[in-house]
Amino acid sequence: MGFTYIDWIIVVVYLIVSVSIGLIGKKYVGNVASYLVAGRELGLYVGIATLAATEIGTITFMYYGEAGYKYGFAAFVAALIAGVVMIIVGRTGFIISRLRKMKLMTVPEFFEAKYSRGLRLLTGILVAVGGILNMGVFLRVEGEFLMRISGIDAKYLVGIMTAILLLELLYTVVGGMVSIVITDFIQYILLSVATILISIYAINYAGWTNIVNKVEATMGDGGFNPITNPQFGWTFIIWQTLLWLSLHTCWQTTAMRMFSTKDAETSKKVMTWTGFIFLGRGMLPMVWGIAALTLYGTGALDASGIPAPVVNGETLQPIEAMPAMLSQILGPGIKGIVVAGMLAATMSVNSSYLLGWSSVISQDIVLPIRRLMGKQPLSSRAQIFVNRVANVFVSLFLLFWGLWYEVPGTVYLYLNITGTIFLAGAFVCVVGGLYWKRANVTGGYAAMLLGAAGAIIPFFFLKWSENITGFIAFGLAALGLIVGSLIGKASKPGAEAVEFNRAATEEV
């Protein structure tokens, strides 16, 4: 069932309204703090909206839908861990509370305060490279979703995704975090409505009993029990707990929301309530994937015994099953709302990620290099200009990378590993820097380098599983911090460095 006129009208109206409202943000941008962290004026409810919208994208629905299709209900454990860890971080204020009190704008900024400018630069480079590579697959995967659900011919896909990226770039460059927060609010509502609609349609069409029976027949106990499913088990559960602990505290786009809240108490509440949304963020699209397996899982079996999806006689990949199902079960009008909701999800994630990674380039690579070269700090206006240029640079890279790069293995896996490259070291350094007095520069360098090596070498060269790779990355980073700190000289107190940096970034 293709797109009708009413669907196109809904989508076009959404795009016009969203971008127009986003452009309003420009008139509220004064200094670099308003551009990057919305002047630290985020309240609870809009904070929840922008944090949830930032971390719920079409890409999220796609990889969780794929996980549901391939691993059944056992995949729910990944969503459960993500949500529960977030609620615990919010309730305790672990890391986020202290970072918020420091009035940071980026995560690597902490490294200059606690460790050294050189380590901030190294962390900035690793965060930017890992983050941009991570985001690099978004366009292609999102494009596949849109193509499947709307029936758009593949030859128009590049043009459409380029146009969407340019629209996101337009309001992000112009209004920074202020524009993003305004658009995130609208986009969050729309994507949530779409999520609820799809869930009702998917479960209603496939039937709950049929869904459970299909998983039972296809996967047996492994389709329900994450301990016995060979893809998961205890190593996966422990690695995912560590990964989500680091994602919720040190992932630049999440951390920027925490830095943008009015105070530390608000940041804790935002994190706690968004944790409940994160349960649905994972489990609902996984159910869509399982519903797609129930309705269309009739093809040839793969090595794990999972049937390929067959829709209208065409054999698809498991990741394509969910959008193909939606194209079949949603009627005119509803399909337009759902696609507008998915576009909202896409734009909210991409604009936030564009700002997140470009802010690391401008604040943690360009500024420290200038300072190391003995140059004067940039004015607030100049910093905003550098950030805008970085935004354009990141967008261009994404466009070309997204067009030709093929994701090796599952998308979820690729995203986890590219994130772990810097997250393992960054998380260990932040925990050590905040909670261990002996942590020093030598330990910081060792943690960042060993964490990156621990993610890259086992996964890309030794071809070990992602669970083992994740363990090794976090383990080596922790070992590096402890051993390096014990044999290296103690770091100087970082409070002056933070204040100096503040003067350089806000008051010049």
Partner: protein, 53 residues
């Protein structure tokens, strides 16, 4: 239905219910938050341009 199936069904109900409920609350109260944020940003901008006022 095995115990895991029941557990995941309950998790799904909690997750879906919380998702819908929080969306509703954010939809109603978020707009006020947004207006307050923009008002504060305008005030700050005005103070930066006119520091004596």
């Amino acid at each position: 239905m095995n115990i895991w199936a029941t557990f995941w069904m309950l998790c799904l109900i909690v997750a879906g219910g919380a998702f819908a409920l929080i969306t509703l609350i954010v939809m109603v109260k978020g707009f006020k938050d947004l207006r307050e944020m923009l008002r504060e940003l305008s005030k700050k901008q005005h103070e930066e341009i006119n520091p004596d006022n």
